[in-house]
């Protein structure tokens, strides 16, 4: 079973925000996109996706809107809010700082 805790704390949020930064998507499209861009490395179950989306929505990072999907069915589309965009920039910067520091350390140990 894949649980969100398999991801580094908070990374699922970052991933979702990043995906939504390009264009508004519904939950299904997000899950497809997640699978597509991360391959098998990061597995996010359908079950944990929706609570995560709702959390982001309640926090005000993303907003939701009902629109017609490609196959003409009403679906809930999420898009990044202004606050969310700022949050994403901050978090992305944090992430690169953190990950480069960590890979630096990891490389040091190898040497």
């Amino acid at each position: 079973m894949t649980k969100p805790s398999d991801l580094v704390q908070g990374t699922l949020d970052l991933l979702l925000l990043k995906i939504l930064a390009l264009e508004p998507r519904n939950g299904w499209a997000i899950s497809q996109r997640l699978k597509q861009i991360s391959g098998d490395v990061l597995q996010v179950s359908d079950g944990s996706l929706y609570p995560a989306l709702h959390k982001l929505e309640q926090a005000g990072w993303i907003t939701a809107e009902w629109k017609l999907s490609r196959n003409n069915r009403r679906a809930k589309f999420y898009s990044l809010s202004r606050l969310g965009r700022r949050h994403l920039e901050r978090e992305a910067a944090n992430w690169s700082r953190l990950s480069s520091a960590i890979s630096h350390i990891v490389r040091l140990e190898e040497a």
């Binding site: 929706y50 309640q58 907003t63």
Partner: protein, 900 residues
């Protein structure tokens, strides 16, 4: 979170709350969409529809759990849960509407009585002064051996004002006094309440006049120069119909012309608890208003007539202010040893000052204690009811627990129920509280028979309302928590097997037993207290006042209202006494500065008894005094026990004389030879006064008063401006009014007669009816407490016994005689009541001690109360145990076993 964030989140939370159903629909719809897509994908990948559906569901990791997770994300869970609970509680309460109504009424009585009585304590102690930043206003008081809240003299006030650094202004005011007011120069003056204040009074208090201006500091510096007056808001409204043109108008106060310079705002009703001054005058005009003819207000350091207050500077502590004032008082003592020996000074907060100046608050506190006892009995009743209700719901609760409800969640549900009950009870209680306050207000005219602007200050204001709500919440906890805890602590297996079962063990019964004990003890305490008050009051009335109250007419005069000087005043009273004595129907005549049991305080007097060694740290002793004429003792029927009373020969030129009461005589001359002894006024070197006689001790200030030292001075030797004429009549005293009026008109047609009435009526209103109101209140609390306790006790005991029907059936089936069974259950009930009685007696005894020390001595432990109350409680318990037990023993064992 940051405020800009709230712009996003608040609408979301609101939406989750208000459009709950829609949000729920969206949740399902969203997941449904996902599942459909997933299934379509599965089918496209070659799965059968069933398999695809199964795979889609499995990928969700438990659909319902995820839904719950998503709902939790809304962060309004606590509230929606509460709303659910509330809806559930409403349903279950309305199903048992009779019980609900009973519970609500019971709680309403308890809460209403408490909030009604708390409004008294609030008005007498807690309500802040009606000024901005009221907490910073402190009371400065002079202290002596006998009192820690005395006034300062004008000179002392000036020194304190100039020598202290802890304050943003030090202010002074005299008492509210009767002042003769006339809007036109020729009109007969009417009595209104005026208060002299220092020039910085309004400024320091932060009171902005509604109209015009407050006093300027220089307006109270030159005695007699600035005749200016600021009107109180109510007076302006009633006397001048809120006319803004009143500014600059000339009015006459005690015959002197004053210019109206301002009107105090509506919000400022004055700094007193009961009084609302009609107008304010600067201290510099004291000559027009001062009551004391013997002293010079502006010069004499011992003419102490001013209450001093001050506003604490921000950053200065109370302790610093206290230390500073102590130093000032020490300086006074050193510089003016004659008038300031062993005199200190103290700084009080509002709470400290209020609990020292007015004794009525003690009544208030006792009432609140009693009302809380009623509330306790009421809550216990309700707890008992809820407990038995919860027992009937055992199975429901067991099922809830079995299918996974958390214990805390269930306790919350049950507490929500009792909270709803308590809220309803609280609302109804507040209505009752309003009723009680209204009831208090309706006695306004009964209690204050005076021309001064006094009013009953009790109100249901925000603080009282908040306190009532807090009480409701508290009682919800009190009566809800025990049942909730108990009914959720279940043995599931047993509870599910039988709808209603008593798990063996003492723990279960413990709760109900505690309720019985609490009920008995609280109600007993309540009854003891009300019995004590009623009996104490009756004793006091039976004791009487030691003087005759019937066939007396009273009428007061204040020649200052028509600008008499000292000699004219003297002459007026002399002629008045002579002429009314001749009037038909008048048996005897008296003049007195204060009437016994009146609303005004008697003057105090400082003296040194001749030939008595003074304690080292004392300059003099103090006593209360009255100034009377030679007819007083005879007219009032106060016996002279030794020596003689005053005679016409005790004139201003004769040697100074005085009459003391028995208490005074015994206090200073225990040998019983007071007559012929001397005292010196003020100090060892003061005026020599001979004691002529000893009068019987009477009630002076109130009928609950304990005997006090008292001294009489003859009017001729101690002139006073304001006097009351007392006439003893052969027939109806009111028939004399006309002839007195004629005599006064003959002396001066402009002089008003004040407070003209039969003394008996005045006495009844002033001294008897006031306490009677208090008694009614206590009596009704006692009665309500008793009724609630009887109902509750009966219910609890009967319920406890009926729970044992099955057990009784078994006992009878095994061969127990019904008398054994009766003995068993009744013994249990009686043991509980016995325990409650012991606790209740102990609490009642403590309360009695408290009341005796605070109010009056009704004579130790009140046996009669216990002899009536205790057996009746036992009787109720026995009945409550007997009836269900009897029924249980009568029905066939087979039926009893199937019972429930």
């Amino acid at each position: 979170m940051r405020p800009q964030h709230w712009l996003y989140t608040i609408p979301l939370r609101l939406r989750s709350l208000v459009r709950r159903r829609h949000v729920e629909w969206e949740l399902n719809e969203e997941l449904q969409f996902h599942l459909e897509q997933k299934i379509a994908e599965g089918i496209a990948n070659g799965l059968s529809p069933k398999e695809a559906r199964y795979a889609a569901m499995r990928a969700m990791d438990g659909l319902e759990v995820r839904k719950e997770e998503m709902r939790d994300m809304r962060r309004v869970r606590w509230l929606t849960d509460f709303l659910d609970d509330a809806r559930y509680a409403t349903r279950s309460l309305s199903r048992t509407s009779g019980l609900t109504a009973f519970v609500v009424i019971t709680l309403a009585l308890g809460i209403g009585m408490t909030s009604g009585t708390f409004s008294m304590v609030d008005a007498l102690i807690f309500r802040p002064y009606p000024v901005p930043h009221a907490g910073g206003v402190l009371t400065l008081a002079s202290t002596t051996h006998d009192s820690n809240l005395e006034d300062f003299s004008y000179r002392e006030y000036l020194d304190i004002r100039d020598k202290t650094n802890s304050y943003d202004g030090v202010i002074a005011n005299a008492d509210m006094e009767a002042v003769g007011f006339s809007a036109e120069p020729l009109a007969t003056p009417r009595v209104r309440g005026g208060m002299m204040v220092s020039g910085n009074y309004f400024h320091v208090l932060g009171v902005e006049p509604r109209l015009g201006r407050g006093f300027r500091e220089d307006e109270d510096q030159v005695p007699g120069r600035d005749a200016v007056v600021v009107l109180g808001p109510d007076f302006w409204k009633h006397e001048f119909a809120s006319d803004p043109g009143v500014l600059g108008k000339h009015i006459r106060l005690n015959g002197t012309e004053f210019i109206v310079i301002g009107v105090a705002p509506e919000t400022f009703s004055g700094m007193l608890i009961f009084g609302h001054p009609d107008f304010y005058m600067p201290l510099a005009m004291a000559r027009v208003f001062s009551t004391n003819l013997q002293k010079n207000f502006f010069e004499d350091r011992d003419d102490r007539e001013l209450s001093v207050s001050a506003r604490l500077k921000p950053g200065t502590t109370l302790q610093q202010a206290r230390n500073e004032l102590v130093v000032v008082a020490k300086d006074f003592e050193r510089e003016y040893p004659k008038v300031n020996r062993s005199r200190g000074a103290a700084v009080y907060t509002q709470f400290e000052a209020r609990t020292r100046e007015d004794l009525n608050w003690k009544f208030g506190v006792i009432f609140v204690i009693l009302a809380l006892a009623v509330l306790l009995v009421a809550s216990t009743n309700v707890a008992g009811l809820l407990l038995s209700r919860a027992r009937a719901r055992t199975r429901e609760i067991a099922i809830r627990l079995a299918i996974g409800a958390g214990r805390f969640r269930l306790i919350r549900l049950l507490l929500t129920e009792s909270l709803m009950l308590a809220s309803l009870g609280g609302l109804a209680g507040i209505a009752i509280g309003y009723g009680i306050v209204e009831w208090f207000q309706s006695f306004q005219n009964v209690v204050f028979m005076t021309d001064l602007p006094l009013s009953v200050p009790f109100r249901m204001d925000t603080r009282v309302l908040l306190a009532s709500l807090a009480l409701s919440a508290l009682s919800a906890l009190l009566c809800g928590l025990a049942p909730a805890l108990e009914s959720t602590r279940l043995d599931l297996v047993n509870a599910l097997k039988s709808a209603d079962v008593d798990v063996p063990g003492r723990k279960r019964l413990w709760g109900r037993n505690v309720l019985v004990v609490a009920q008995v003890s609280a109600s007993l305490m309540l009854l003891t207290a009300s019995f004590l008050m009623v009996r104490g009051f009756q004793n006091t009335l039976r004791e009487g006042t030691s003087f005759a109250k019937d066939h007396l007419l009273m009428a007061s005069f204040d020649p200052r209202l028509v600008q008499y000087n000292r000699a004219q005043t003297q002459q007026f009273y002399k002629l008045l006494a002579e002429r009314v004595r001749e009037a038909p129907g008048v048996e005897s005549e008296a003049l007195t500065q204060n009437i016994p049991l009146g609303i005004d305080d008697f003057d105090g007097i400082a003296f040194v008894p001749e030939g008595l060694e003074m304690p080292r740290d004392r300059e003099n002793f103090n006593s209360t005094m009255d100034t009377v004429d030679e007819g007083y003792f005879e007219t009032m029927g106060i016996p002279i026990l030794e020596g003689r009373g005053f005679r016409a020969s005790d004139t201003a030129d004769a040697p100074r004389v005085a009459v003391v009461n028995e208490q005074f005589a015994k206090h200073y001359w225990p040998g019983g030879d007071a007559v012929g002894k001397h005292i010196r006024l003020e100090s060892r070197t003061g005026t020599l006064v001979e004691i002529l006689g000893v009068a019987e001790t009477i009630k002076y200030q109130g009928i609950f008063q304990k005997p006090i030292d008292f001294l009489y001075m003859p009017l001729a030797q101690n002139p006073v401006a304001r006097m009351t004429l007392m006439l003893r009549s052969s027939g109806d005293p009111l028939e004399l009014v006309q002839s007195v009026r004629e005599v006064v008109r003959g002396l001066d047609p402009n002089l008003p007669m004040l407070h003209t009435m039969a003394y008996q009526d005045y006495y009844m209103n002033q001294a008897v009816n006031g306490p009677r109101i208090a008694l009614k209140l206590v009596g009704s609390m006692g009665l309500v407490g008793l009724l609630l306790a009887i109902a509750g006790l009966y219910g609890l005991v009967a319920y406890n016994v009926s729970r044992r029907t099955r057990e009784i059936g078994i006992r009878i089936a095994l061969g127990a005689a019904s008398s054994d069974v009766l003995r068993l259950v009744m013994g249990k009930g009686l043991a509980l009541v016995g325990m409650g009685t012991v606790i209740g007696l102990a609490m009642g005894f403590l309360l009695e001690q408290l009341m005796n020390s605070m109010l009056f001595n009704a004579g130790g432990v009140d046996i009669a109360a216990y002899v009536i109350v205790v057996p009746s409680l036992f009787l109720v318990t026995m009945l409550a145990a007997y009836i269900p037990a009897r029924r249980a023993t009568r029905i066939a064992p087979t039926q009893a076993l199937r019972y429930e």
